[in-house]
Subunit: 270 residues, 2 copies
């Protein structure tokens, strides 16, 4: 249940965009969603989704999003430009840029589309983890502001200062205060994992996402069913090589349906 | 060993681009790399990589590529426009479009970058499969032209007309005639898998890639080591839902190093 009151949820505050000219939106960084440096990447990704959703010509719901973190986003205002590169009968292809002072900080492409009933199958299964009620409430250190907006219960990969033989992380996550899941918040949760290299090495090292791709399976009805229940988020890296590693993630609904996957490539040095 | 002779390899013929104006290239579809309808998506992806490589201002080698198949590519000439959205010290962000008659058929973003020595680790392992010499030569049906340019030895997922309980596919693949692996051919091989829904249902159904993302781990030196040896390519889907499914793939070198991953979302109906 969404316990929305008369005040706006901080996530919706952070996503607020004002139309300047057709397809161009003005936004503002939001302190509650700051990362160590600049805004939480998940929020930036969600802001692109929200920009397309606000575009009067948009068609359908998100199918895929790729966001490239080209440079830092400074505290303050930013502009998001949206362009429908091509609109087909059942899908629409977007090119998006976030700029500050005329310089592109983040670029993205998105595909939105409509969905139809056809043959369906759940081939993969969620990882086997204890129920949220059986896990202790956890989180990230206090200085990572954005993480305070999420209730997290770790089954594997809670941040500590020990080296780990693998990079697997699994946690139940939901917004706090409570908020019903929508495409923007699902997008943001796709980036909920701190860089997997921290877990492997048991320490903070310079690391930053270069490119993040999300594939959406959930329909609007699937999200309505999920509402504000815990999402099971799970990620792992395959290879750390010459300054770049990957992390692939799955986000599962509380009734074991795959909502989205995300795949990112992350810059690091040790 | 690359057994290149004096004639050009068909793959290099297919990738040939002519600079028209700075950053804009003219190419032509190539019959040997046709798919059932239009060109093989892997070739289109490779053509984008080649376009950036030909750009005089390009920096480093591919780190990631996302290509969105927005509409059909007709037989004949096409234009590729390239724009460096932002250039940093160690990486460069590109936006790319393939157009015909002024209409965008395919859009893409790419990140190129330089790499450095730092902490390295191979966390994932390749699937356990027989050596190429222990497997029969296979392929795709004769009417899929592009597949005739690849030597394929299937360990799992050879195309037949039987329903399959899972979508896992694993094959050894290399160019035929022989050709040393480079970033363009690695890119193309990332799309070597016929749509996973064919394998599940044991029949051809309408299906087409909507968005394909590749993350590159291999450096130029890693590719030189691989040369024209067999690449182990392996893919699987997680979910088929309301007309879209995913397929995630890993491409491994003959000495068990992860060269690249690819993740695609594919439209289908049954």
């Amino acid at each position: 249940m969404n316990e929305a009151s008369n005040t706006t949820h901080p996530f919706d505050d952070a996503l607020e965009l004002h139309s300047i000219t057709p397809g161009v939106y003005l936004g503002r960084t939001s302190a509650p969603y700051n990362n160590m440096v600049g805004p939480f990447g998940g929020l930036t990704a969600a802001t692109f989704i929200r920009a397309v959703e606000q575009h009067p010509d948009h068609l359908g719901d998100p199918v895929s999003l790729t966001i490239n973190f080209a440079g830092p986003v400074a505290e303050g205002e930013f502009e998001i430009s949206t362009r429908a590169v091509r609109t087909n009968r059942s899908n629409q292809h977007w090119y998006l840029e976030l700029s500050q002072n005329g310089e592109v900080a983040t670029s993205a492409t998105a595909v939105f589309g409509t969905r139809r009933e056809t043959w369906d199958d759940d081939e993969a299964s969620p990882p086997s983890v204890p129920a949220p009620s059986e896990l202790e409430a956890g989180g990230l250190p206090e200085f990572i502001a954005w993480a305070r907006n999420y209730e997290m219960r770790f089954s594997a990969g809670a941040l500590n200062e020990q080296e780990s033989p693998d990079s697997a992380i699994a946690l139940w996550v939901r917004d706090t205060p409570s908020r019903a899941l929508d495409f923007a918040s699902l997008t943001s949760m796709c980036d909920i994992f701190y860089p997997r290299v921290f877990q492997r090495l048991g320490k903070y090292v310079p690391a930053g996402t270069i490119s993040l791709t999300i594939h959406y399976f959930a329909t609007a009805e699937d999200l309505e069913t999920q509402s504000d229940s815990f999402v099971l988020a799970h990620a792992q890296s395959r290879r750390f090589h010459r300054g770049y590693f990957d992390q692939s993630a799955e986000l599962w609904s509380s009734d074991e349906k795959l909502l989205a996957t995300s795949h990112q490539v992350v810059y690091y040095k040790s």
